[in-house]
């Protein structure tokens, strides 16, 4: 299990993607990313919480205290409509970028 330094904007995008399927708390988001990436990606606590906090400040996500599955206090995050819009743009931008990079890497020149 290696720790990753995500490119700028990537972690935010992943978080928004996870949240687009329902609300989660911080730990849950990290686990979900870990699982969905087939355990290829690990989100470090040191970058997760400040990022969540920053995204909340920008109005992409909203946080609210609630009770977790085993009756524990947890802060649940949900995606806002602004966040949904932003996710769409980011996803498109990312796909173009990834495709471009892949194209260059595949070429034999």
């Amino acid at each position: 299990m290696t720790n990753h330094v995500f490119p700028k904007g990537a972690l935010e995008m992943l978080i928004m993607k996870v949240l687009s399927n329902g609300s989660h708390h911080g730990w849950g988001i990290a686990q979900k990313i870990h699982l969905l990436s087939s355990e290829a990606l690990t989100v470090e606590e040191g970058s997760l919480y400040p990022t969540l906090s920053r995204m909340q400040q920008r109005g992409w996500i909203k946080g609210k205290l609630g009770l977790s599955e085993n009756n524990r206090q947890a802060k649940y995050y949900t995606l806002t409509s602004l966040g949904k819009m932003h996710l769409k743009q980011e996803q498109k931008r990312w796909e173009e970028l990834a495709a471009g990079i892949a194209q260059v890497l595949k070429s034999n020149d």
């Binding site: 708390h25 911080g26 730990w27 990290a30 606590e45 040191g46 919480y49 400040p50 906090s53 920053r54 909340q56 400040q57 920008r58 109005g59 946080g63 205290l65 977790s68 524990r72 206090q73 947890a74 802060k75 602004l82």
Partner: protein, 896 residues
Amino acid sequence: MEFFNRIKNSILNLFQKKVLEEETKEEMRLHIEHLQERYQSQGMSKSEARKAALRDFGNAEKLKEDCRDSWGTRVISDLIRDVRYSFRSLRKNKGVSGVVILTLAVCIGVNATFLSALYSLVLKPLPVKEPENLVQLFNSGNRSGSRTTSDGYSHSSWNQYNEFKERSDLFDGCALRYAVTELMTVNGSIRRTRGQKVSGDFFNLMGARPLLGRFFSPDECNPTNPEKVIVLTQTAWENHYSANPKILGTQIRIDDFTDGGVHYTVIGVAERTIEVFDAKALYFTPFRFFNRDIGNPAKARYLFNMDLWIRLKPDVSRETALDQIRSMDRRWYEEIADEEGRRGYERYGLHEFDKPHSLERYLYLLEAGSLLLLLVGCFNVMNLNLNRVSQKGYELFIRSALGASKQTTRRLWFVESFSLIAIALGLGILLAMVSVEVLNHYLNTLSPSTIPINLDKRIVAGSLIFTLLLAAVMGLLPLQIFWRTGSIQRDDRVQRTVSSKLSQRLSSGMIIGQVAVAFTMLICAVMLFRSFQKVMAVDPGFSSKQVVQGRLDWSAIGPFYKKRSEASDLKQRIHSTMKDIPGVENVAFIMSGMFSGDLRRGPIAFFVRGEPPNESFLRHGNAVSPEFFTTMNIPIIEGRNFNAGDTGRAVIVDELFVSRFFPDRSPIGLEISNQILPDGEPWPRIVGVSRRANIRGLEERDDGAIIYINRPVNVGDWEYTILLRSSRSATGVIRDMQSALSEIDPRLALVYVGTLDEAIDEMLVGRRSITLLMGVFSLLTLLLSLLGIYAVIAYDVSLRRREIGIRSAIGASKSTIFKMVLNQGLSKTVVGLTVGILVSLYLSRFLEQQLFDISTIDPGIYFVALIVFISVALIASFLPAQRALRFDPIEALRAE
């Protein structure tokens, strides 16, 4: 969108910081618990799992800090911290902070007050429609040689109004306004009130709107219309009729002597802005004066004190308009005027628009004074701040060594200066609010019809901007100087090196500047004070003790005693009733009020019977009853006093008259008149010469000879002042006088009443208040420069500890060191004084009109001011010099 979201969230976060903190803590705790559970499920013991989880999670505090960074509350909480820090630092430096705050508060307060006064009395445009095209016409005379501001200006007349309205093609309209004092019955009691007569077009010309009802119709301005109407001012309506909305159509009783009216129907209430023309007037009635004299086109052009307001067409310049007025008046002079009319033209035939406010000169003087005060205050504050930076040099050095950026230091310093100045601003505005009230109190005496001053919002806003600028300059300039010169030298003597050449030069420049300014103020204040003393020392020439006076005017007598015989009966009754008041020794009547100087003003020609006409001008005449000289204790030095047998043709002249016109012969027996009388008609004859009495006012001492014409008590008059000399206390006599008058007729209300001493006092109110204010200003600037000199010298001494130590170690005597420090202060003061003398010599000429018996280059005054100043400089440098003496050379050297 996102930007606004961030700002909005930052502000929201500020209020829910606690919740955010709590949430962050909770979610981190949960994360650690999950980690711990995972490790436990992998087979670790509980405590081992906990340890591993905590290790994995890392520094939770740093994580929290990173989260806080993104809340956007940092800037604000930093600011709060800075403000706290700056208050702590200001508290530590109580002395310096106190001085800075007080200095600035006084400067800001004084300036805000006088700027507000200047603005609302002089600079503010009239609150009427298009004030830039509106002018008031004055028929001005030659003002040379006259002291009083009212002299030399005559207002306009019905005659001019009519002609301009009909014939001028340059005006969009004109309107007449005329203030009257009448008896109005308010809520059942008769009281003297001020009203205004206006021509029908007045409201329209000013663009005023009725608050209720309407203004005058042309028909209501027709003199033959028996229906009389009135418009109340908003203030009168609110104060006397409790803003009754049903006031329209009700009747008000006014004994109007010009129009003969009694019952007036209220047709409207005018909005408040129109009260700017006369703040004390309660109502408007249509101008329909139908007096023979006013109608006489050959005479009446310059005879009446009516305000003529003219609205110029937009593209017409004032000069063009004045030219047309002058040519119309010239034509009138050549074609229509009779002899009396021509005399008026010769006296008032110059025309001007808009006369300066009577207080304008004073206000500019006071504002100039307060600006100078501000200048000195700023010098001082800058200087203190320069020293503060220098003292903090070590701290600043350590800060920058520890990694504080210039940005942070600058912010901190700005916040510190700003908090200081904000307190000063608050106090200053408070001070201004109080002093505006005080000023309004004086204004009520000096210029009663002016509306009270308000502390202007724009001036407060201006002060705020000024304060911010000052904070920026005050906070940042010394830092800049410090950085340029001080902190680069990274050695332990940083504290000394900051006192660089540049900052030294700057602070001695400021000392010189403020000494010069303060000296100029002192010169002005001393000159005004000496003038005041000289005025007070003028011998009035009569004895005012034990004399009370009360004046009856047209509005009290005119409407009810129309015939001269009725007025004569009344006067005789008053005379005998006054005589019967216990303790009253003498009763006299005088036509022009004491110290009023308003009747028979200007040069009056006189002729001596049997002698060729000459160019002699008599300045003032007054008609007095025979007992006048006895009542006033004015000695007759030649000839005899009036006696009961004298007719109206007996004349007494004063000694000034004799020395001006008959220096080498006795005037007794000469017959004089203001015109050459036809043969057979008896001429007035001079029967006596009195000692000079300054009955027009103390400052009119040399202003014009006075001729007293006998006015027997049985000659009817509609206007006179009653003078009573008695052995009793004034209050009792005044009470008896008023009750005796109302027994004769309850409508006999006195215009004013009081002792002669009070009248003299009141006459000096203007001079006294300006002298007092300038004195206070000058004292303040003096105090500020004392502080300024002290601060600079004291600081200099503290920097030169080591040098002084070495000097005394190698044998400098105490007196040498003492002199050295004193010299420091004195040399700067002397340079400042030299500049100050030159500035004062130049500026004092603007004060000339305010001076009495004082030359603007009076060496005595300069000498006194110099002595005062040198003592101030000595006191300011004495304390630091004393301290320098106490330096122990060994201590001083070891301190390094």
